[in-house]
Structure formats: C-alpha cells, structure tokens
Amino acid sequence: MNATEAIRERLCAATGPVRIVGSGSRARHLPARADATALDLSDLREIVRLDHGDQTCTVECGVPLATLDAALREHDLELPCLGGGTAEGTVGGLFACDPFGPGNEGGQSPRSLLLGLDAVLADGTVFKAGARVVKSVAGFDVHKLFVGSQGRLFVAARLHLRLKPRPRAEQWFTNDDLDEAAAFRLLHALRQEPLPLPVLQLRRDSDGSHAVMGRAAGRAGYVTGVVQRHGLHSVSAPTSFHLDPPPRGELLTGLAVPSALPELLRAVPAAATFTWLGGGRFQVALPDPGASDRLLAALPNVPASGVLAVATGERHGRGTPIDPGQARLADALKIALDPDGTLV
C-alpha cells in the first residue's frame, strides 16, 4: 500500500476531527483538541526517489529530517531550508509548520523547495499538484498551500523536493558579547557580502548582550576570506535555530524587514530573548502573557507582524491584526478543501 492509499484508509476510518501527527513535536506547544483523532504518519518514512543528478527527490511525509539529511549527504546535496544544521521532526512537519521564511536574505524558502506533492483531502480524495522537476507552471500551485497550513487543508502523503548542492566548505560562527551597535555593524557588514550567507542571525539575550551567528558557505577560499574579513569566531553547527519559551512564558514569531530592527528591539521587553534571521523572521521568548500582549500591541507601529506560536489555550495563534481580505481568502480556501472542518 502506498502512502496516499494508507492515508486515505486512515482518514476514512477516523470519525470526527482529525489531527495530523508526524514526529509529535507540534504537540509540545499546541496540544491536540480533546475530541480529535490523531492521525500518526510517522511510519510513512520511505525516500521514494532521490535523483541526485537532477537534484530532486520524492519522500513520504514521515521521513525524519535527519534521515533525509543523511541520505542527501551521500550525494553532497542538502535541503537548503534546513540551514545546513540537523533539525528534528519530519519532512511533512517541516513544510506544514514552516516557520514562514528562509534563514537568510534571498535564501530558499520552503515555498521554493516544495515542487509538488501527492495528497489526500479530508473526504478521501487523492490528488496531486505541482511536478517532480525543478520548473513547472502547469495548473495551480495547490502544493504551495501546504506550506504553513499545519496540515489543516489536506494531508500531504509524498512531497517532491528541490535539492541544492552542499557547499564545498562551510563554517559556522558566533560572535557574542557584543553591544547593540557592534552587533548591528557586524550584521550589516555580513549582509554586504556578495554571496548571501545561508544562515545569518542576530540575537539579544535577556542579560542585554548581543550576538551575531551564522554559516558562511561556498568555496574554501571564499569561506576563509569571510571569516577573516569579519573576525568571525568559529563554532560547531547548532542543533536548533528555535528558541524555547521560559516556564510559563510564551513564544512569539513574526516578520520584520532589516530597517525595522532597531525599532523592533526597542519594542521587545528587556527580559525577553530575541532572535532575528536574515530572511525576515524573528522569534521572541517572552516571560509572561502580559509581556506578549504588550509586544503584540506595539508591533504594528514598528512595523512588524507576529503571532503567538507557543502559548496555552486560546492564546495560541493570537497575533497582530490580519488583513481582512487575506483572512477571507484563507477561510474560503479552508471551506473549499475541507468543507466539514475535519482537519484541525
């Protein structure tokens, strides 16, 4: 039985609301509704096709990211949105819960890397969208709707992915204990490099110290040059790019352009930990709900947008105002693809 048939069978067997589960990492910050049936897809873990010459692959949704990364390493390839680090979770989960953006400016976002998919609607309809090749504009890009959908529109069984050559050399770095001015100088100097760094991150800790972190990649001579030009401090690859909220705290994720960073940092409470990735995404680990609400209220004036990605109960998903037109279209798409609201 292939992945689509397996999912179709499980969906048809389920009654009431269904929640898709991959590695289960989402449950840590968003517990399932009590009335929802868990649809565990972690056993669908076959790498169906790896065409290293074409730099594309097809994987089942439950393939662990570490498994995929190991398979790609054998061919000097990588899935760029992993940032070169080893992430936990599954491939399906990565795209479904996409933290909306690449780790660097101009970098590959999940939208760019998901070429197509085979999927199943909540009513059991099996369909495909996109293609297996790196370029196709045939039909509507329904697969793009999977990115960030949290599995609430349809269930992706197999994903067709674009891969990239693994850089011939790389060096992770962290320059910490910087004051704000020094951190901004380094960040902006690194943004001027002719080859965008695959990962570039600014961090402010709750003690007020700043750090600039990232990954220089490319040819050996170039990487060495970047490290030397900017006085970067080499470190080993991080295991995660994500912040964890403190006990009883919350995590806010959002988007801000580089020019808004100084204003954004002024709006973030001093007691919070803040990171901003070059692709525009930022995270704030906030000490308590009150601090979150104050920051959410301040963000539109920065300007920046954000939502609570880790919070309890109804607070989860609370965010800056969403454009009513976009909200209307998102609702219409949900009704079009899952009219009974089965996927939660």
């Binding site: 074409d54 730099q55 594309t56 996409d98 909306f100 953006g101 101009g106 590959q108 976002s109 939208r111 609607l121 309809t125 099996v126 369909f127 495909k128 969208a129 293609a131 297996r132 090749v133 790196v134 370029k135 196709s136 504009v137 045939a138 039909g139 509507f140 890009d141 329904v142 793009k144 709707l145 990115v147 960030g148 949290q150 529109l153 050559p165 693994r166 011939r168 002719p194 080859l195 170039y222 040059g225 988007l255 352009v257 020019s259 692709g279 525009g280 995404r281 947008s305 939502v307 965010g319 969403i322 454009d323 037109g325 976009q326 279209l329 998102a330 219409a332 798409l333 079009a336 693809l337």
Partner: protein, 486 residues
C-alpha cells in the same frame, strides 16, 4: 452597451476602448494562433480604479481578463468576445524602493527591465529575466510565475515576490504576503498559490519584490559542440559537480543558423550542432575557480571551441543571439509554435534525441533553444499557419513532445503557462481529481468564474473564440487523446 457606458463614466472615454478597430491590438498575445477580439478594453491607472472597474463588472456579471504587455506565449490574456480586458500597462509607477531592505513595491505595469534600471544606481537588480524582459511587466510575470535564463541560480518569480495588493473579482481588496518574508506569519501562503494563477484569481495592483545585489563579477562563456548529446553531457557534468552558474543555455544548429542570418547575429559557429552559453557571477575568486572547472568540462565533452567574453560588449554579443533567438525564427517560416516542456536534467540528452525523432516523423521544422540548467526545453516548430496540413502536423508533433516530457517525469510547461494553448495537454499531467481540487481553489478566489474564464483548467464550455485553438487541437488529436496522470 450599458457596461461600456458605466466604465466610461468611471475612467473617461480615452481609457475605455470598445470600437472594433480600437480593439485590434488586444486580439491576441504572443501566441498568435489564438485570436479573439474582446468586448472592451479598460486602462486603469490605480488600485482604486481597478476596484471601480471590477465592481462594475461584478454587478453586471461580465467576465474580464487581466493583461500586462501581452507578451504571454500561451494565450493567457486573450479574451473572449463577451469579456472586458483590464489592461494594466498604464500602471507603471515604481511606488517604493528600500535599498536597506532590498525590496521594491511597484504597480503591475512596470516593465521588468525598467525595474532593474530604476534600482541599478543602488547596485541592485530584479533577478527574474524572461526573454521579453524589455517589454513584459511585473504584473504579468507574477500572473505567469515567469522564469528566464537566470532563474537557474536565482529562481522563478515566486521566489522573488514577497507581498501583493490584490483586487478580487468582486472588487474587494486583499493584502497578501508580507514585505519582510514570503508568507504572512498568520498562516496560509495565499500569495504562493496566487503567483502563477494566470490572471484567474484576481488582479495584483501593487507588488512587493525582492531585489538582488549586483554581483561583483560576471563571466560569460560559450562552447560549441559537434553533437547535442555532448552539449547535454557537459550540462550534466556542471550540475553534478555542484556548480550553480547564473545561466546554462543551449541553442541547436537550426537556431544558430537562424540567429546568424538575422539582426541578432552573435558570431556563433554555424558548423556546430549546439552551443552552450554559461554565465557565472559572484566574487572574483569564486568566479575564476568556477570558470576553470567549467572550461575543463567543455574539454572533457569534446567542445569544438570555447570562448569567454572579456568585455561588457562581448558579453552583450554572446547574449544577443540567445535573447533574439525567438525573433530570428521568423526567418524560417510565417508562424512559430514555441513549446515549453520540462524534463529532469538527467534526461536532457534522451529527450532531445526523441524530440528530433518526433519532428522527423511529423515532417515539421524543429529548432531548439532552452534553459538546459533547469531542463526547460523550448522546441520550436516553424510552420505556415495558412496551410491546414502543416498546422495539423505542428499540433500533433507538439502534443507528442509534451507527452514525452511528461513520460520522462517532467511537465508540459516550465514558464509559459497553460493559458488557452495547453488546455488539451493538462490531462497529460493531472487527472480529474487533481483538476477538481484546482477548480475548488479557483472558486475560492473567483466563485462566479468571471476572472479570465476558460484558461488553465480544461473545460467543455469555453467561449467559442477562445476555444478555437483547443478545438483545432481536439480535431487533430481526437477526443480523449490526452489521458492519464503523471
């Protein structure tokens, strides 16, 4: 004529065209086989005016077709006789540029190359570069998810669009995406599915795109080969080595000869079976190392000769032939059918061999110019459209070539879109369930089906004029010729 009167009241008589002669320029796009004169053409200049137009059309239940410069190659913006064309080419203001954030917000009628010109003083450029970039518009690029030679390294339009203000078919507004990132933190990537929807979901009236820094160094190399297979193998070696040139383009002998006999003459060796054009960009030390590796791959695959542009003028010359290739085809015959299939890059050689066989079998004049790095083929069939037999053989050969692309694991279109041209080819890739899901998504944006009707998704009841090409293809191929999924 009530709707024409209302539109005139909204925009003034100069910007509402509805006399027969005035509409002539809007009867087709770059896919000239498909012709139909629209009911009227309106020329709005702002989001507010587009809203006013679409509200009037909504109230009168009149279909409409968004249009940019009309350079589309698949009949996408060709309207039926009952539809009003909303021509956005007068919406050509660059609204905002942030050099710090490397983004620009533009109206949809801004010409692709004009955007790059507008930001070049800041050492920035807009990366997607369709061959028509001196004419085509950013709005059209968004609608088609346009590519171009440099999308091998820099990606398609979807990789560069961050946000858009969209006027929905009922005249309401939606702000999609976020200038800071490709997807709003609130959830679905609505802009992702809007991009490439071929003007069937609404009209983007303000578009925020990502700008790229100009590379410090650009090198352009050209190698000629005694066989197409050798050129394809060189491409395979370059890609397999992990090199990512800015562009990897191949022209076959028929194209070379057409180019060299035209005003686009670039000095390509006419005895070669294929030339491979490679462009590298980046830091000096990186580009130098990559050029040396690529030259070695040229030698390994038996290149007859190779050259490198050493001045900007030489670089322009090498690109002149590639950019002018489609124009040069006009020397071969009266009409040109530009195909747009995609195959996995590992199957380029096999695909080209089989395409040649198909062309020979159908007795058509074939030439190939294509984005080899992406596996995006452009087999071009030159034919005399006044000759029904030649037209029939062209259609049959084209269908078989696209069928081959799908059989090899590829796609019927890499960058030109389905439009009205490939409706009969869509079922080669997608079955009824796939298409029904797409139709549901379309209805979420356009419940009444008035926004560029009869495009992208095959349907039985397209309006008569726009359906002319599908009817022609159906007659040649027979009912049910295109069946099965990918």
């Amino acid at each position: 004529m009530a709707i024409e009167r209302d539109l005139t009241r909204a925009l003034g008589p100069e910007r509402v065209l509805h006399t027969r002669d005035a509409l002539l320029a809007w009867e087709c796009d770059g896919f000239t086989v498909l012709k139909s004169r629209p009911r009227a053409v309106v020329l709005p200049e702002s989001t507010t005016e587009v809203q006013a137009v679409l509200r009037l059309l909504h109230a009168a239940a009149v279909p409409f077709v968004p249009r940019g410069a009309g350079t589309c190659l698949s009949g996408g913006p060709t309207a039926g006789a009952d539809a009003v064309v909303v021509d956005c080419s007068r919406m050509r203001r660059v609204l905002h540029v942030s050099t710090v954030d490397r983004i620009a917000t533009v109206q949809p009628g801004v010409v692709n190359l004009d955007l790059t010109a507008a930001v070049s003083d800041h050492d920035l450029h807009y990366a997607p570069d369709p061959s028509s970039q001196s004419v085509c518009t950013i709005g059209g690029n968004l609608a088609e998810n346009s590519g171009g030679p440099h999308c091998f390294k820099y990606g398609m339009t979807t990789d560069h669009v961050l946000a858009a203000t969209v006027v929905c078919p009922d005249g309401s507004l939606a702000h999609l995406g976020d200038p800071a990132g490709p997807r709003s933190p609130h959830g679905l990537d609505v802009l992702g599915v809007f991009c490439g929807s071929e003007g069937t979901f609404g009209i983007a009236t303000e578009i925020t795109v990502r700008l790229c820094r100009n590379p410090p160094e650009v090198r352009t190399l050209l190698a000629s080969f005694a066989s197409m297979s050798s050129a394809c193998r060189a491409v395979g070696d370059i890609v397999a080595a992990g090199l990512v040139p800015a562009a990897l383009e191949i022209l076959d002998q028929a194209t070379i000869r057409a180019v060299e006999a035209s005003v686009y003459r670039a000095g390509y060796p006419e005895n070669a079976a294929a030339v491979l054009l490679v462009e590298l960009d980046g830091p000096h030390e990186v580009v130098g190392e990559e050029a040396a590796e690529i030259t070695a791959f040229f030698r390994k695959n038996g290149a007859l000769q190779s050259e490198e542009a050493t001045t900007p003028d030489e670089r322009k010359r090498l690109w002149k032939g590639r950019k002018g290739a489609f124009g040069a085809m006009g020397r071969i015959d009266t009409d040109l059918y530009v195909l747009d299939g995609v195959v996995p890059r590992t199957r380029l050689e096999e695909a080209l061999t089989k395409i040649t066989e198909i062309g020979r079998r159908h007795g058509v004049t074939l030439s190939n110019v294509f984005h080899a790095g992406d596996g995006n083929l452009h087999p071009n069939i030159s034919f005399d459209g006044r000759d029904p037999d030649a037209t029939a053989r062209t259609i049959a050969a084209g269908h078989e070539i696209l069928q081959l692309c799908v059989e090899l694991g590829g796609s019927i279109t890499g960058e030109h879109g389905v439009g009205g041209e490939k409706l009969d080819h869509v079922p080669l890739m997608f079955d009824d369930d796939d298409l029904e899901v797409m139709a549901r998504v379309r209805r979420a944006f356009d419940p009444d089906g008035r926004c560029n009707p009869g495009k992208v998704l095959p349907q039985r009841h397209a309006c008569a004029e726009v359906a002319k090409w599908p009817q022609m293809t159906a007659e040649v191929l027979g009912e049910g010729a295109a069946e099965g999924g990918q």
